[in-house]
């Protein structure tokens, strides 16, 4: 079909007309970009034509997934010695050039074991041989220093492992029973820790603990501007993550949390659980709980095991009761679901 002159004129005219309408009424073109909304800490809903600056992580953009880390236990490659002893082999690679989006739009150079902060949770049974092939792909020297009982040469202090591929094999018998941190022990120590070179080492008793929904929480902080004060606090690195992505648990099911406090700069941290109390096993070394409480105070690398069960379904906060920390990200929610098998009559509480 031939485009006639009059057709072209009409086309031209209508384009001009549309453009001028858009130019004259910019509201029309703006109306196409719908205002976004967000909810404030106090529950108010605010509309904006711009962008939302809310430190919540949508799972679409998360680099490090705290939900995956939460229940991820690494038992290693298992070998049996002739005498029946179990050997668990792990490969841990250190790096110090990773840039991680630690909160929406905020990027930080973290130092990592196996690419994450915290590093992988290493788990063994008391008496197992733990063999860790440590490779340092960073630029600086790094080591792995485990809390626990081991020979001096396996302590990861006096044997710095050079960067760019330096290697070392840490081998020791797992013990004592409990939950322990591991971290880099190269000077300046504070920097090597706060940058993210730490993780959790769990030693299970030979006679297993009762089955439970188990999870690991490393309480940590990030000093983004290097002024010796944390700008963010969190359980498992990402501020506010579990607040916006609640941890799902069930009523009448035992929950066991391995908690390790790796916060630097601030002398203490703590953990308060809502709507419940927990049995607390300091360092997890004893099989009998020391406390029944909803609040524990933890100093640097202080750790323990919490056990609790919820009777009532719903949303329960857990957070630092040093509320400055919780307002900077160390806050989360347990979403307690009614166990499907639970045939008790449902009663509505609250409102």
């Amino acid at each position: 079909m031939r485009i006639t002159r009059s057709n072209a004129m009409i086309l031209l005219f209508s384009i001009t007309a549309i453009l001028s309408v858009i130019a004259v009424f910019p509201a029309i073109s703006e109306a196409q970009s719908e205002p976004k909304t967000f909810v404030t800490h106090s529950g108010a809903v605010v509309k904006t034509t711009g962008e939302v600056l809310d430190p919540l992580y949508t799972s679409a953009t998360v680099e490090f997934d705290p939900m995956e880390y939460l229940r991820d236990f690494n038992y290693g490659r298992v070998l049996q010695l002739s005498d029946g002893t179990t050997v668990r082999e792990f490969t841990i690679i250190a790096n110090d050039d990773e840039i991680m989006e630690v909160s929406p739009g905020i990027f930080f150079n973290v130092w990592t074991f196996n690419g994450t902060v915290p590093g992988p949770t290493i788990r063994a049974t008391e008496g197992d041989i733990v063999r860790i092939k440590f490779i340092n792909n960073g630029e600086k020297e790094h080591t792995m220093h485990f809390h626990g009982i081991h020979p001096a040469g396996m302590d990861g202090v006096f044997e710095p492992v050079g960067g760019n591929g330096g290697q070392f094999v840490y081998e020791f018998e797992a013990g004592p029973v409990g939950v322990h941190p591991y971290h880099c022990h190269v000077m300046p120590l504070e920097e090597h820790i706060v940058r993210g070179l730490y993780g959790v080492f769990i030693v299970d008793p030979k006679e297993e603990r009762p089955p439970a929904d188990e999870m690991v929480m490393v309480l940590n902080g990030l000093d983004m501007d290097f002024d010796g004060e944390n700008n963010f606090y969190a359980a498992n690195t990402i501020p506010f993550y579990y607040q916006h992505h609640p941890i799902q648990i069930n009523t009448d099911e035992l929950v066991r949390v391995y908690v390790v406090n790796m916060v630097e700069f601030d002398p203490i941290n703590n953990l308060h659980l809502h709507g419940n109390l927990y049995k607390y096993y300091p360092t997890g070394t004893d099989l009998v709980p020391s406390f029944y409480t909803d609040m524990i105070t933890l100093s640097q690398t202080e750790r323990g095991i919490m056990e609790f069960e919820y009777d009532y379904p719903g949303k329960y906060l857990f957070h630092a009761h040093k509320v400055e920390f919780s307002e900077k990200g160390w806050v989360g929610i347990f979403l307690v679901n009614d166990k499907p098998t639970n045939d008790e009559q449902e009663i509505e509480y609250g409102t």
Binding site: K36, G50, L53, M224
Partner: protein, 392 residues
Amino acid sequence: MELSDNSSKGKVIASGIIPFVFVIIMMAYIFGPGADLLDLGIPLPEITMEKVDFVDSEIRVTVRNTGPIPVEVAMADVNDRIQPAAVEPDRYLDRYETALVRIPFEWNEAEPYIIGITIEDGTRFEKEIEAAAPALQPTLDLAVFFAIIGTYVGIIPVMIGLLWLPFIKRISKSKYHFFLALTAGLLLFLALDSIEEAIEVSDESLSGSFNGALLVATVIVLSFLGLYYSGEKLVERANSSKLAKPVAIALMISIGIGLHNFGEGLAIGAAVGMGSIAFSTFLIVGFALHNTTEGIAIAAPMSRGKLMIGKLAAMGMIAGAPAIFGAWIGGFVYSPFTSVIFLSIGAGAIFQVIVVLMKWLREEGDKNLSSASVASGFAVGMLVMYLTSILV
């Protein structure tokens, strides 16, 4: 002949252009292939929070990228506690671009707050607010309030000062010179006062990249030159028309003082707006006393002509009324940048007036600027201003 003329003209043009060509080549090289050579050091991002408004359940922060590189606004906090917020129009800020960060927050009046903005690399910038005060809404009541304040600190004192005119008229020539010099002293003080204020505002609210002190200096010189040129034209015309020279000088003085009072009004309006001063009657009295001397500055040159009450009153208005406009602008649409600019323009205008005054004094006083009356007048002018400034 014509040919060689043309070619020499071409040479002139060429020799004028060639350096520019080299400048362009150098720039192109530095930004292009030579960029690596200069890639030393790490550019540090910088943002400046120019304005913080407290509105209903919300804190609004105007942020400007004043660093050498683009930044992204990533997070907002109040008193170092992270708050969900919004940034409009968007989080990306090029050099000198501004954005509005809206932080929903139930703030309390008169309490101090520290507002923090974190950018994408984790650097946090903060701004301290001494006392939160609701952002001023341009209501009629408030406009009237500012007009009253402006009248008290601007118009009334200047008018009172003008009442010295009959006195100055009757005194001897040397005493008259004393008063003219006194005027110059008063004005010099006002100029210095404006400069101090301008530098203070730029230090507080403008980032270093504006080169505050140099910005002030540049604007002063430009304003001085502009007014000096147009002032000379005015005096020239005054000589050939019925507008007497004293009137022309008095008019220039009123314009200079008017610009200064505009700056002063801006400062007062902004201070009320930011809640950083409580308007006591004492402060108003201080400003009033201080500004009464400005009336003398206008009256002194006028005293040698015919008594022209209408003109005098008009000049009083020119000098005093800008305080009202300044207060309105400062209170309702404050921006530190315009404040610095107007204070500097005022200072330049006053310097111009001083030069004109001194010239006139020299002509009047038989080419002598070092007479006892001139020296003492100048000194007393400065002293009076200093002493009354203590009240403010």
